[in-house]
Amino acid sequence: MIEIMDDRELEKMIKTVDIEVVPPEGLKEKLLARVRDVDDKTGSIMTPFERFIFEKPLRTACSISFTISGLLWAIMGSGLTKLLIGMIG
């Protein structure tokens, strides 16, 4: 049997549905941090720069080393050869 709702009750119910739910202060941030930690296996928050370096350290190491070495070669010329021989002994 279908029970017919009173107009006042219906109005009340609609009003309660329309009320905006405001979460307690700080809850959003806590949830975001937790989601980020779950997503990030390391459990540590990284800056985009750190993530770029740590994701593929070989890429960074190669770029830095070839740049430094190229600069040394450009500045020192044949002196780089002598330096390397000296280092190897």
Binding site: S44, S65, S69, L80
Partner: protein, 196 residues
């Protein structure tokens, strides 16, 4: 995670293995890498060097010194791990010794490659033709190993020990002093490429 996968990740995508999680098999991989590095640098390379040039020069194989180098390399690895663990304890980081040992051992990959290249140059100097370009390539490799090791160090500090900037500087300052002492001791017994 199998051993080869851990090794692959350590080289190409270390974020999956250099962290606080208990990655199965990581400790074994680390120990193997460290032992391989120390064995190669202290025993295997000197033996190869000896058998390669013994007909050209009169040299002796100092077995006692080889084992001294091997022992010292292993001791410095354990000492570095203990120091890192103690520093983490001082700053209340709640980290286990095994986590430090297993992640620090992975950072020996650049050390191993550096030792291989260095010993290769000693054993077969012909691969270095002496011109500017070959010097550029070789110095690039040596700098690359150094930078790679430094990145591992930063990763362990940030992702394993979870240091703040201030703690990072304090730990680095302490380690710099201790590592310098290790390096000086190492040079005195004949370790040319530091194994730390």
């Amino acid at each position: 995670m199998n051993i080869l996968n851990i090794l692959y990740q350590s080289i190409f995508a270390p974020l999956g293995v250099v962290n606080r999680e208990n990655v199965k098999g990581r400790l074994q991989v680390s120990v193997v890498i460290v032992l391989l590095t120390t064995l190669f640098g202290s025993i295997i390379a000197p033996v190869i060097y000896f058998y390669t040039i013994r007909n050209k020069y009169e040299i002796n194989l100092d077995i006692g010194n080889m084992f001294l180098r091997l022992s010292l390399s292993i001791i410095t690895w354990l000492a570095a791990c203990t120091l890192l663990w103690l520093m983490a304890k001082i700053f209340s980081k709640g980290i286990e010794f095994g986590q430090i040992v297993s992640t620090w051992g992975l950072s020996y990959i650049p050390n191993f490659l550096c030792i291989v290249l260095y010993e290769l140059l000693l054993i077969k100097p012909e691969i270095y033709s002496g011109n500017g370009f070959s010097a550029f390539i070789l110095s690039s490799f040596f700098i690359m190993f150094l930078v790679w090791k430094a990145i591992y160090y930063f990763m362990i500090m940030k992702l394993v020990i979870h240091t703040t900037l201030g703690e990072f500087f304090v730990i680095t300052a302490v380690l710099a002093i201790v590592f310098s002492v290790f390096m000086v001791i190492g040079f005195r017994v004949g370790i040319q490429v530091p194994m730390l």
